[in-house]
Subunit: 118 residues, 2 copies
DNA sequence: GTAATTGTAAACCAATTGGTATACTATAAC
DNA sequence: GTTATAGTATACCAATTGGTTTACAATTAC
């Protein structure tokens, strides 16, 4: 297998940097998980977490900057919703490597099986 | 769609933190891309990059800590190879959200088409 | 043996991170 | 109009990051 990866799709590096960085924090991943159930205000999002509102505010801006989330301001509350495109970009990048790891995992499994058979 | 995400698979948070963090740097992603073509020594990996060898050494340790890479020491050279499991873990996490974003993207496309038709 | 090569270790640096507390703005409720 | 609520802004903090330079250890080549 020689899969010459030339950064095909033009997902710019900066965008991928931001998306993967956004996903690298467990609080932000939990926020995404919560938003998956539907839109929510900043307060609602912050409540389950042991950190202050400003901290959650920062996390939300990181998610927004990565294009993973957007907000609609309604009076004094900000309604946050997931934006699917950016997540899809990250998945696309990983997709490039899917063939590699599936094949690798398969051969690892075969090897294990072969040893089992000894 | 109400996909109640309860962190099903037991990919521990720390592991996902490390994997996504490892992927959040473009130099490290490029190193992964290079390793996809086959194992390589630290020197070979470092050569194409405009940074020093110790810097690449650090990146490789980050990849190793994330479980994305391993090395076999042969004399004075370290032969680095990808480890597929960790990448697969990241992909699995994203997979959880696949249904969401595919549906969302589809409805966005529909909307665009509908507007086109006006 | 001496010199070159491969790589890590350690010390340092500026920038970023995730968090806080406090102050503030703006909307909503009474 | 006063008070409570939702959220941001700012200033600060300690820890981490990505990079450097210099020094070092170990293997290989001559």
């Amino acid at each position: 297998m020689t899969l010459t990866v030339t950064n095909d799709r033009n997902l710019p590096d900066e965008a991928l940097d931001r998306v993967f960085h956004a996903l690298s924090d467990r609080t932000r991943r939990a926020l995404i998980a919560r938003l998956l159930e539907g839109p929510a205000s900043v307060k609602e999002l912050a409540d389950p977490f042991p950190v202050t509102l400003p901290a959650i505010g920062k996390h939300l801006r990181v998610l927004e900057a990565a294009g993973l989330m957007h907000r609609e301001i309604r009076g004094r509350t900000h309604i946050c919703s997931l934006t699917p495109e950016a997540l899809s970009d990250a998945a696309s990048w990983l997709q490039t490597y899917r063939m590699f790891w599936e094949e690798s995992l398969a051969s690892l499994a075969n090897e294990a099986e072969r040893k089992e058979g000894d």
